[in-house]
């Protein structure tokens, strides 16, 4: 083994010598390749939609697409209005004006419903009135009072358009399901008589289109906002938009701050500009190349992708720092930059390759994740690590040879704070080897027990600061209008006109009432509606509005005729709740915004209860954003477990292979395992759930912990082979690679702790956990690494004690 390692080290020296001879060519060629890759960034697209969390071929997504294709979007923008007094002429006029302005100006708007145009089908004596609610403007006090009574008596409005206490009302905006649906020019339009040769394929509304719509609603609402006309904007599109904006802004801001901090730390440690510039150069090149590759491969940027730069920063800085640390050390001995670079690569080249490979494999394990952006992140972070490795090996040495660097006066040996610290650590862990390892194992076991109780979560609303308008609005709408999101159920009778079946309609109606009475914990169903409600409404209207006729007609033959009447009444609302052949019905369940985990019992209840009530022959499909979230959560849990198992398995195997001994390889996994287990245990203690972001912390922690371990093992073996003395080898290891690890870990921990200043809760948690994981990884290694070496090399250890 030592022989092979020697040969590899000579190989690295030879390669580096070659690269340094052709330094200018190498730099130019590398930069050209990087530029070529980076040019792919021009093709990058952004997709932060909720659908984007799942792979395009996920069956849940196909069901959702089918739903949207049939019925349009179910995730509405809700603009709740809380006026001083809802039923006054002035307020109603203001609502109407706001409604009209929104209708005329919001782009990509498919539908808008408010009190101004709510369907108002009712009977007045022998007349059947089919009109918009405010079609005839109430002029007198008495008319307004009558309007109020009618609105509050209408079950279709209650909890939907108006709150039970009549204090709040909503304007509901449905955006287009598909992109580019705006009207083109006249010439385009006039060309539209001929049927397109092939069916138009529709892409969902783009991020930019969603944003334009949400921003316009916000801007218009702001104009109307007043002390006696409070506005609250909720609904999934608003939440998603706020989240996306906050995430991007925060990540950009803190990425900059992290870079600055890391730069300053590097400057303080190396006391040279190159010590900052070169690691950053590697990071930047790896990042733009990786993003370019995403562009070329057509992989869009998604919400979790914002973590990629942080990740590459963490991994790339480490490798570069290891090379630089050795380079500067060597430069003090011989004032020849090329020679120092060759020495540094000979010393660290193999370790860097090994660390990068294990990290790439660890990350690669996420490429199989069922949550699409996590899979992408796994694949591209893995690629980024390998690119970073290539830049470190190929570009760094020639640049070190090119850039004039003077050696600093030698640091007093053993005199610096670091050196004293490293000595103390080495002494402590080698002397108390058994106790240290035993404590480590106990700590791991204790924290595994805590980590096992970790809660999964998918609730993007809680990521937002709780004083943000959209957070407040969602909570208020959830409370006063009993919900801001929906679960959609498709009930398929399997036959044409199946929905003329009275029994089926009665059962649907029964299910709605049953669900509205359902609650579990603080979760409740705000409203449940289906085509049965429209039928009841029209039946009542045809019977002089007598309340006892608000029911499914007894005479089944009347059902198709009442539906025909409704279709002919000028309302196209039926097509929002049934398909054209009356075989499928949409059943909408409104619920408050909750963590998806909390919605799972309700989803399961619906999944079980509907087939039970509706009987065989009726197919039931649960869909909608909520269902997507639930699938995402399930996929996340499943993926996280799978990915971590794969990552640990693969890394353990690589450790054994690299070290060449099973026992040692397994032992080396202890300090790798410790930081992740401890961080997860801590999460449970402080109540941070496992979500899309905190889950990723683990992958960064694995990457860095394994890096530390490999650097340690690599150098330890080298020095141990030279001296045959465990303690001496530990000391030497800590003073060379250990120093670099310490530098890297401090720099990166501080860099990630910067995220603690974020207002976004998930960014805060990400920073806290990642910073801590990095620090813990180093601590675990510094304590357990030397101790394990003592225990696993007992012969020499005894010999040493004997001396």
């Amino acid at each position: 083994m030592a022989d092979i390692r020697d040969r590899i080290e000579r190989g690295f020296e030879g390669l580096t010598a070659f690269l340094c001879r052709r330094r200018w060519w190498v730099v130019a060629a590398t930069l050209a390749v990087a530029a070529g890759l980076a040019s792919g960034m021009a093709r990058l697209t952004i997709d932060t939609s909720n659908e984007g969390f799942l792979h395009p071929d996920d069956p849940t997504l196909a069901q959702y697409e089918e739903f949207k294709n049939q019925f349009g979007r179910e995730d509405m923008i809700l603009l709740a209005i809380e006026p001083a007094d809802l039923f006054t002429d002035a307020t109603l006029r203001k609502i109407k004006a706001l409604h009209d302005e929104l209708r005329d100006n919001v782009p990509h708007l498919n539908d808008i419903i408010s009190l101004a145009n709510a369907r108002n089908t009712h009977g007045e004596g022998d007349r059947l009135v089919v009109d918009d609610l405010l079609a005839a403007w109430p002029e007198t006090e008495a008319e307004i009072a009558a309007l109020k009574d009618r609105v509050l008596a209408n079950p279709l409005y209650r909890d939907r358009l108006v709150s039970r206490d009549a204090r709040m009302t909503t304007i509901v905006l449905e955006l287009d399901a598909f992109s580019g649906a705006g009207a083109g020019g006249v010439a385009d339009a006039l060309a539209g008589f001929d049927e397109p040769a092939k069916p138009v394929t529709r892409a969902k509304l783009t991020d930019a289109e969603n944003r334009a719509a949400v921003e316009t609603v916000r801007a218009i609402a702001a104009k109307y906002e007043a002390a006696d006309f409070r506005l609250y904007m909720a609904g999934t599109p608003s939440v998603t938009e706020a989240l996306k904006r906050a995430m991007q802004e925060d990540m950009r801001k803190f990425m900059g701050l992290a870079l600055l901090t890391i730069g300053l730390c590097l400057l303080a440690m190396f006391r040279r500009i190159v010590g900052v510039v070169l690691p950053f150069l590697v990071v930047v090149l790896s990042f733009v190349s990786t993003m370019g590759a995403m562009g070329y491969m057509g992989t869009p940027i998604k919400l979790p992708t914002v973590i990629l730069p942080s990740f590459l920063l963490a991994v790339s800085v480490g490798a570069a720092v290891h090379v630089l640390a050795i380079f500067f050390q060597q430069l003090r001995k011989e004032d020849d930059r090329a020679a120092a670079a060759i020495h540094a690569m000979g010393h660290s080249g193999l370790a860097i390759v090994m660390t990068s490979l294990t990290t790439a494999v660890g990350l690669g394990s996420f490429a199989t994740a069922e949550v699409a952006p996590i899979a992408d992140l796994g694949a591209y972070a893995s690629l980024g690590v390998l690119l970073s490795l290539a830049y470190t090996i190929i570009l760094l040495p020639p640049l070190l040879a090119i850039i004039p660097t003077r050696p600093h006066a030698a640091a007093p040996e053993g005199g610096g704070v670091f050196e004293r610290l490293l000595d103390a650590v080495a002494d402590f862990s080698t002397r108390h080897a058994r106790a240290v390892v035993a404590t480590g194992v106990v700590v791991i076991v204790v924290f595994v027990a805590s980590a096992a109780q970790l809660r999964f979560s998918h609730d993007v609303l809680t990521w937002l600061p709780h004083d943000w308008p959209v957070y407040q609005a969602t909570r208020k709408v959830d409370r006063d209008l009993r919900g801001s999101v929906v679960i959609e159920v498709i009930v398929d009778s399997g036959r044409e006109n199946g929905l003329y079946d009275r029994e089926l309609l009665v059962r649907l109606d029964g299910l709605a009432r049953e669900l509205e009475a359902w609650s579990e914990g603080d979760l409740f169903v705000g409203k449940a509606t289906s085509v049965a409600d429209i039928l009841k409404e029209i039946h009542q209207a045809l019977n002089e509005n007598q309340p006892e006729f608000y029911r499914i007609p007894e005479n089944e033959k009347l059902i198709p005729q009442e539906f025909l009447l409704f279709e002919n009444s000028g309302s196209d609302d039926l097509q929002d709740v049934v398909d054209s052949s009356f075989s499928k019905a949409r059943f909408t369940v409104k619920v408050p915004w909750r963590d998806t985990l909390e919605l799972v019992p309700l989803l399961t209840h619906i999944q079980d209860r509907f087939p039970e009530v509706l009987g065989p022959g009726v197919a039931v499909t649960v869909t909608g954003i909520t269902s997507l979230f639930s699938r995402t959560l399930y996929a996340a849990i499943h993926s996280a477990a799978k990915s971590y198992v794969i990552a640990f398995g693969a890394i353990t195997l690589m450790m054994i292979l690299l070290i060449g001994r099973i026992r040692l390889g397994l032992a080396a996994m202890l300090p790798n395992l410790a930081p992740i287990v401890i961080v997860m245990g801590m999460m449970w203690w402080v109540g941070i759930p496992l979500n899309m972001f905190t889950m990723l912390t683990g992958s960064i922690a694995i990457g860095l912990a394994v890096d530390d371990t490999i650097h340690f093992m690599h150098n330890f073996r080298r020095y141990f082979a030279q001296t045959g003395d465990v303690r001496a080898a530990v000391h030497s290891t800590l003073h060379t690679s250990g120093r670099a690890m310490l530098v890297t870990s401090i720099v990166l921990s501080v860099g990630f702790y910067i995220y603690l200043f974020s207002a976004m809760n998930n960014v805060f948690q990400f920073g806290l956990l990642t910073g801590s994981a990095i620090a813990l990884a180093l601590l675990a290694l510094f304590l357990m690494g030397p101790a394990l070496m003592v225990l696993l090399n007992p012969e020499t250890a005894k010999k040493e004690t004997g001396q």
Partner: protein, 269 residues
Amino acid sequence: MTGMRKALLAGLLAALSVQAQALPAAAQTAREIMEKMDARDDGDNAVTNLEMTLIDKQGDTRVRRIVSYTKDKGRDMQRIMFFLEPADVRGTGFLTYDYYSGEKDDDQWLYLPELRKTKRIASSDKSGSFMGSDFSYVDMTRRVLDEWTYRILKEDEVRGAKVWVIEALPRDDTVRDRYGYDKSVIFVRQDIFLGVRAVHWLRDGGKLKYFDMKQVEQIDGIWMGTELDMKTTKGGETLHRTVMRFSNVRYNQALDDELFTVRRLEKGP
């Protein structure tokens, strides 16, 4: 609420005018063309069978068969129609007094055989769907000339016949609201002043509607479209489509006023 006779022309009525044919096309303004289209003889006292095919996005179709009787009352019009098929709505009938003036709401009565009751329907909304089709009531009615401003966009050909392509813009928001259109572009045949095609820009939802008179026939000396196609599109995709086919068209029948009453409505087809 609407005119069956107008239904025959589906929205865009044209006027066959012998004198007009003699005039040089270029000398006419858009307004003059629309006036001639409006003044065209579109028949009276008509009995028609109508087959309406509704086609959804998935290509599923539903067919409805209706018999209809129409009678002119000056510029206003009365119509009674009964559903023949599908069987579960047979006998359902609508009686409509359609007033030319946009100011006055139409009168409509409906009769559901299973309910055994006639209801008078009150509605001010004319932009809603006609019998669940892509045609709205306004598409089935003669437009009030003065409510729109016209402009010739170009001349073109439709199925070999020369047409003027005329843009019509609503005069004000009230008109826009009542029709539900931001704009229409109408293709008027130069030889017979018949509107054979049209594109309507819907006020809401960014949708377009395409009207296409696929078959034109002369019956009892009156030009009419016997196959009408209306599709609602969004972003180039057809959301829904309606094909209307007229058969057994007979004009100048002896339809007395007694036919257009609630009593008659309740007796069925």
